[in-house]
Symmetry: none
Subunit: 406 residues, 2 copies
């Protein structure tokens, strides 16, 4: 198997102010198509370091993916360093310059002179189109090693790996044909999933796991000729209905697809999540087919005003309680006139916890055509993770109701 | 300045199933005391790779911190690899063995035989006590370089860095104090910021940039004895009021702090962002001091129902227009009774664009005690980035209104 190295360039990665998630993603994608990871190296903004790391990697492995350092500022040194690693020079690449200029023209903006620097590439480098940002990528070949240089902005980098890197590597190397099936789960920990999958592996079937919070993905890597369907059925028997999709998009996309297929609509009433559930639904293109609107009801007064929650209930049970969650869901459903109303109220922390209602206590309710469901969960995490998992759990409650008869 | 390398060992880091947060933390801690970060290398469970990475680092820098691979299982190879890197052998270290045994005794458990492996260290290594786990750490000195080997479990590693590594490094090197000032900006591209900062660097003052979308951070790295205040004033003169904070938290935190200080409140009415602005405000601990609530008004019917937008205005100007943005802001402000009402309507794409209103067209309005401001922007990006920058621009409009007289 050909080996690859990943180089992440950027002072902010080395200083610890940004966590490098690019390298892990790249390792995962390239391992998926059959390449073997060698090393990941993170290097800062020191020219000699970048040059040395690139040169050493090229001598060690056959594929090098380098991200970052392609911006227009003086600390963006990757292009010069890549040239120096192979005793070459850089030159303004007309194709790259045309791309940078076109990007500004399309946005009807003047290109700052600094951005001309983004088109200065090692002599002989091939330009890689970046459809999502100003920094063109490039590739080089040196002594049997192919090197890809991509921007550090994650979604730009990911699109370019998919468009440029994966197809070239697939064409270049004879990689054992294999297929990966991704079973997306909500409401199970990675370690619990792994425990339930124990002993599942067999010749031609490898199992991988990935925590993609709040989702967990279980992956079956299948060698050529292995049939997927019976294996998927077997995984379903082990993991049950925490699986919300097989080779699908995110939970919000899956739920949205079900709603669209059923011609149904949704409205939300959110306290602790403050709009995050609606925003997750609204992040999916075409969400206006089923997302009508919602209420952010952070204050008790807004719970009363926007959803008609009875002030006596708030007084008696407190804002984080089953009756309030039900009233939120039923109130927003009736007022918006949606098929489904989703109500959420909880304590995200760090303040606000008590022995009876510790931080992480969240009440959900889903009001629908045949009544209202309630769920209570305890998410023993810090604020950001409580909110993240609350969104997942809320969408999953909806998913379980709408997926059956789609 | 003495340079250090960090080595993170573990197949789960290389496969992308776990994000390496240890290395960034170590870099930050050691940079704080004045050491200069060299490289971070992530390496898997291949013996030769681990041995090579350790040996190469020791030849390159004067301090090496290696985490992971000290456990009792067959894929824990760090001790053997560290010995091999310097042509040494390992031996069962009585002091380390006593520690592992003591750890089990204290928990009143039988020590599994496999754990004896954790006391097998390179000959001549010094044991480092781990008070929080079974794996002892160790240190070696080779050719003027000191190497620390620590467990990969973050809280064990962190405690040992503080107990063993930092004190030794402080005693060993005369470290110059230095300071980094972070100026947070909204509404300026990284390249434009860099252009305006051209020629700012001087002896003892380095400038760095970081795009932390939608924010841009300009960093001043100051050597000992350099006064920060005059430099900050000079950067303000160059960049102007795009700077929303110096050494502060995120824009949502800064805006929230201003609102709290003024005793004011905010309500939102969001179309395209579908709750994301309210969620950004609500992600900050203590947001209930100023965030009352808001409306997600994805459908036109909800714009009318929740904010009282005149249907004739929707008909005449369309949902994405100045009059609708104003009506949203004024309507939500009046209904919630907040000091400020923020209204947003735009076209995030990929559908819905037209020649007059291309994708990325967003109208903002901010209604307050003395009237309503309107802004129109064009964000020529794909959906996710349009939404991200819309949140930034909306919060920044609010920030400019509330920061003056806090």
């Amino acid at each position: 198997m050909p080996r690859f190295d990943v180089i992440s360039q950027g002072e902010e990665l080395l200083s610890g102010s940004t966590v490098d998630t690019n390298a892990g993603w790249i390792c995962h994608e390239l391992a998926e198509i059959g390449l073997e990871p060698g090393r990941v190296t993170v290097v800062g903004d020191v020219f000699d370091d970048i040059r040395d790391v690139i040169g050493e990697a090229a001598r060690r492995v056959t594929v090098v993916i380098c991200t970052g350092g392609l911006g227009p500022t003086s600390d963006d040194l990757t292009s010069e360093a890549a040239a120096a690693a192979f005793d070459q020079v850089t030159v303004s690449n007309p194709e790259a310059l045309a791309q940078v200029e076109e990007r500004y023209r399309a946005r009807k903006r003047e290109m700052p002179p600094a951005n001309r620097k983004q088109a200065v590439l090692p002599v002989g480098a091939t330009v890689l189109v970046n459809h999502l940002g100003t920094a063109p990528g490039f590739r080089m070949e040196e002594g049997g090693t192919v090197l890809f240089f991509l921007p550090g902005v994650p979604f730009e980098m990911k699109a370019m790996v998919k468009e440029h890197v994966i197809p070239e590597l697939r064409a270049r190397f004879v990689l054992p044909p294999r297929r990966t099936v991704v079973l997306r789960c909500m409401g199970i920990a990675e370690s619990v999933a792994a425990q339930k999958m124990e002993g599942f592996e067999r010749p031609g079937v490898l199992v991988g796991y990935r925590a993609n919070m709040p989702e967990v993905h279980v992956k079956l890597h299948l060698a050529a000729g292995i049939e997927a369907e019976p294996l998927i059925a077997e995984v379903r028997a082990r993991l049950g209905d925490v699986i919300f999709g097989v080779d699908t998009g995110s939970l919000a996309e899956v739920v949205g697809g079900h709603l669209r297929a059923r011609g149904e609509t949704i409205a939300t009433a959110e306290s602790c999540t403050a709009g995050r559930i609606a925003a997750a639904l609204g992040a999916v293109p075409g969400a206006s087919d089923y997302l009508l609107g919602g209420a952010v009801v952070y204050s008790n007064a807004e719970k009363v005003r926007q959803c008609g929650v009875d002030p006596d209930i708030l007084e008696e049970f407190g804002a984080v309680s089953e009756p309030v969650a039900r009233a939120l869901a039923e109130g927003i459903r009736a007022r918006v006139g949606a098929t489904w109303g989703l109500g959420v109220t909880g304590i995200a922390g760090p303040g606000g916890g008590s022995p009876e209602k510790p931080i992480g206590t969240v009440h959900f309710a889903l009001a629908g055509p045949t009544g209202t469901l309630h769920r209570k969960v305890h998410l023993p995490f810090e604020r950001e993770r409580v909110l993240l998992f609350t969104v997942g759990a809320a969408l999953d409650l909806l998913r379980r109701e709408v997926e059956g008869s789609t």
